[in-house]
């Protein structure tokens, strides 16, 4: 009933929204939220492809487990970094953390 296309379009839309959040928002935590949205879109994609294209193989699910693990690790480290940066520069707006320049 629901073709694969629905899920793929949904995942693509979610991904693009997350991309906009990454590129446009100032606050570093909101950037991280955007990244989480993108990762979730990827997860939806993976599970959808598993369900629709090869449900007899467990590989798709294993892959999705890996993505979860990575997402979790990345968030932890990222937030730790943000806190460390905040301590130093008293800001976590991406605009103001601009030392890597001319």
């Amino acid at each position: 009933m629901i073709p694969l296309s629905y899920y793929l379009v949904f995942a693509a839309a979610l991904f693009c929204i997350g991309l906009y959040g990454v590129l446009a928002r100032k606050n570093a935590v909101t950037i991280l939220m955007g990244i989480e949205l993108m990762l979730n879109a990827v997860l939806i994609n993976v599970i959808a492809f598993w369900r629709y294209r090869s449900p007899d193989q467990i590989t798709g699910q294993a892959f999705a487990v890996m993505v979860f693990a990575i997402a979790a690790a990345e968030v932890a480290v990222g937030l730790a970094l943000f806190i460390s940066i905040y301590r130093r520069r008293n800001t976590i707006a991406a605009d103001e953390i601009d030392l890597l320049k001319w």
Binding site: V22, L23, A24, I31, A94, D95, I97, D98, L99, L100, K101, W102
Partner: protein, 725 residues
């Protein structure tokens, strides 16, 4: 041992001595002179052996001792050189060997071997003497050893080599080689004391004057070679070649080829044997040490000139018969010879320096010999050459002995006088007896004292030849010259040896050691004895005792044996008269000249005396005509105008042009265009960078946006533009 091989070896010991002394033994004076004298002795022994073999050979003139080797290829054939001993060579070898050995031995004593080194002696100046303290606490000055002792022996060794080469060579080219070697050595030895400006001037004058003669000689050799195809005696003196040369015409003045060649070669002799007009170098050459003067002006170098003339007599006399009109070269020789004979004799009796008198005397006697050849008296010329070598060498060595003794006196008394001026001498007969007697014998031989001295026999023969061939002018002029010769010789003997000493130095003169006196004694013996081998057969009384061996022997050199002059009383009486008369007048005029008095002839002759004393002002004339223009040409014309202004100016112009072109290129092309372009590139990159760096904001989100824009753009381009979907 083949005699010809020994002849090859004759010039070798002296040249070996030269190289050994120069390269190895220069420091050891004893070793150097031993090597040199030893070499001269070896050549002497060899020469005596060759001479003995030569006189024992029948018809030596027709088949001389000879040997040839090939030297360099000339087209199809070879240029051959070799040795040649015919009668003329044999007698020349005899007197060269004796005189060279005597001079070498004499030099040991002359340069004060065994004396201490001088206090202020420098190489290049004559030694000044050393102060010694003897056992009585007296300090006095003694003669010191010559600083350049070894060098002297090296040079005279080379000189001897040159002369031996010239004498034994069988072709005119190696003769010329020996000639030039002697020219070089005369240059080196005249200027032996090179720190003296007068010696330097004299050495250059000698070399350049003889060079003038040598250029013409070389032209003659070249012409001869071109015409005859060879320079070997065996070829050029053969009948066919002589006839060809006599018949061929030359481009100059209508002379035959033979005449032109003879005249050109003779000009070489004019230079080498100091005949007028190239006589100016010989008196100045007295600047050299006395053994050098003896060597150059008696034994070897000037004799080489006369030897050449005698040798080329066949060419000069090609087409001449005895008693006929003289050929142009013979006429030329006769004129120059007689004129020089008288000319030099007139100057000789006004000179005060003991060596100058002998110098002019040599010029005069050489004139005799050349005049003799000029009139065709072949044997007489050779005979006079032979005797003259002995007594002139004796006279020069004797004068050296006198000077040496005078210097001893000068050192002893501390007077500053010229030890060579005869007017400072006097009474040396008592102080230096051996020198006196030997010098007297030599002087009498030069004057031609009748019957006992060798000079008489040779001069008499020349006068007899002149008389018998009817050459009146030559006869009278030569007789006059003989008169003057006797006069100035007696003048010299009286002023030097007789009377009382005119200075303290003369009073303190001393006889010399055996190395100097023994050669004098030996040469004195020869000055007496050697005349007796040439007594003509027809001479009254003495004629039959010793046959005219010399005439027979040397006459065999020529293809046609020359006739001996018939005996006539007139030339004999003339010889007696001029010789004894000249000696008597000389004694009379000069017998009582006291210290400080001028020459007794000065007042009577007045301005003529001054003219003669200044040698007819020839040196000044040559200076004006030749020397000054040469200097002007070198200094002003060539150096200043051509070299500095012309050549250097041209180079400077090129440099200036190059500089301005370079400047133009630098300022108008290099700086604005090339540098500008380079700077432009750099500047624009910098400006672009300065502007473009603001891209790097440090904001991560902007970087990501940029990345995505470019990624999507590239993807878009790839998908929709390059690859048509």
């Amino acid at each position: 041992m083949n005699v010809a091989n020994i002849v090859w070896l004759l010039p070798v010991p002296p040249v070996l001595a030269f190289f050994v002394i120069v390269l190895l033994t220069n420091r050891s004076k004893w070793l150097s002179h031993s090597i040199a004298v030893g070499a001269a002795l070896l050549s002497f022994i060899g020469s005596m052996y060759v001479f003995s073999q030569a006189v024992a050979t029948e018809h030596l003139g027709q088949n001389p001792i000879s040997s040839v080797i090939r030297w360099f290829p000339t087209g199809d054939s070879w240029f051959e050189i070799g040795v040649w001993v015919d009668p003329l060579t044999a007698v020349t070898l005899f007197f060269v060997a004796w005189t060279v050995l005597m001079i070498f031995l004499y030099s040991v004593g002359y340069h004060n071997f065994g004396q201490p080194k001088g206090d202020h002696d420098v190489a290049g100046m004559p030694p000044h003497g050393a102060m010694v303290t003897d056992k009585h606490e007296h300090t006095h000055r003694v003669p010191s050893i010559e600083p350049m002792y070894s060098r002297f022996f090296a040079f005279i060794g080379l000189f001897a080599f040159g002369m031996y080469t010239l004498v034994v060579s069988d072709n005119l080219l190696t003769l010329f080689v020996g000639w030039e070697i002697m020219g070089l050595c005369s240059y080196l030895l005249i200027g032996f004391w090179y720190a003296k400006p007068s010696a330097r001037a004299a050495m250059i004058k000698a070399f350049i004057t003889t060079r003038v003669g040598d250029v013409f000689m070389l032209l003659g050799l070249a012409y001869l070679y071109t015409v005859a195809g060879s320079l070997s005696y065996s070829v050029i003196f053969s009948e066919e070649t002589l006839a060809e040369l006599a018949g061929m015409g030359s481009p100059i003045l209508g002379l035959s080829a033979a005449a032109l060649i003879a005249i050109l070669l003779f000009i070489g002799t004019i230079g080498k044997s100091a005949q007028f007009p190239l006589h100016v170098w010989l008196p100045d050459a007295m600047e050299g040490p006395t053994p050098v003067s003896a060597m150059i002006h008696a034994a070897t170098m000037v004799s080489a000139g006369v030897y050449l003339v005698i040798r080329i007599f066949p060419i000069a006399s090609a087409g001449w018969e005895h008693g006929a009109v003289l050929t142009p070269p013979m006429l030329f020789m006769a004129i120059i010879g007689t004129f020089t004979g008288l000319f030099a004799a007139t100057i000789a009796f006004t000179q005060n320096d003991i060596k100058r008198v002998l110098a002019y005397s040599t010029i005069s006697q050489l004139g005799y010999m050349i005049a003799a050849i000029g009139i065709g008296a072949y044997v007489a010329a050779a005979f006079h050459l032979f005797t003259h070598a002995f007594f002139k060498a004796l006279l020069f060595l004797g004068s050296g002995s006198v000077i040496h003794g005078m210097e001893h006196g000068v050192f002893h008394t501390g007077e500053h006088i010229d030890p060579q001026d005869m007017f400072n001498m006097g009474g040396l007969r008592k102080k230096m007896p051996i020198t006196f007697w030997t010098f007297l014998i030599g002087g009498l031989a030069l004057s031609g004292l009748p019957l006992i001295t060798a000079g008489f026999w040779s001069k008499d023969e020349i006068l007899a030849d002149a008389f018998s061939t009817g050459q009146w002018l030559v006869f009278i002029t030569l007789a006059l010259a003989a008169l003057l010769t006797a006069f100035y010789t007696m003048r010299q003997i009286v002023l030097t040896f007789l009377g009382e000493p005119r200075t303290a130095a003369a009073a303190n003169a001393q006889e010399n050691r055996w190395t100097m006196t023994v050669p004098l004694i030996i040469l004195a013996f020869f000055s007496l004895a050697v005349g007796w081998i040439g007594i003509p057969g027809e001479f009254p009384v003495l004629g039959g005792m010793l046959p005219g061996w010399f005439h027979e022997f040397v006459g065999g050199t020529l293809a046609e044996h020359p006739e001996a002059p018939p005996f006539h009383i007139v030339p004999l009486l003339t010889s007696f008269l001029v010789s004894l008369g000249g000696l008597a007048v000389g004694y009379y005029v000069y017998r009582s000249v006291r210290a400080g008095e001028p020459d007794p002839l000065q007042k009577p002759l007045g301005s003529v005396y001054t003219l003669l004393k200044n040698k007819y002002y020839f040196d000044e004339l040559y200076d004006k005509i030749f020397v000054r223009p040469a200097y002007w040409l070198a200094e002003t014309f060539t150096y200043l105008w051509v070299d500095r202004k012309g050549i250097d100016g041209f180079l400077h112009l090129i440099a200036r042009i190059t500089f301005s072109v370079g400047g133009f290129l630098r300022n108008f092309i290099d700086k604005p265009i090339i540098n500008g372009f380079g700077d432009f590139v750099g500047e624009s990159v910098k400006r672009f960078g300065r502007g473009a760096r603001f891209i790097q904001t440090g904001r991560v989100q902007q970087y990501m946006v940029m990345a995505l824009v470019i990624a999507f753009g590239t993807l878009f381009y790839y998908l929709f533009v390059l690859v048509q979907p």
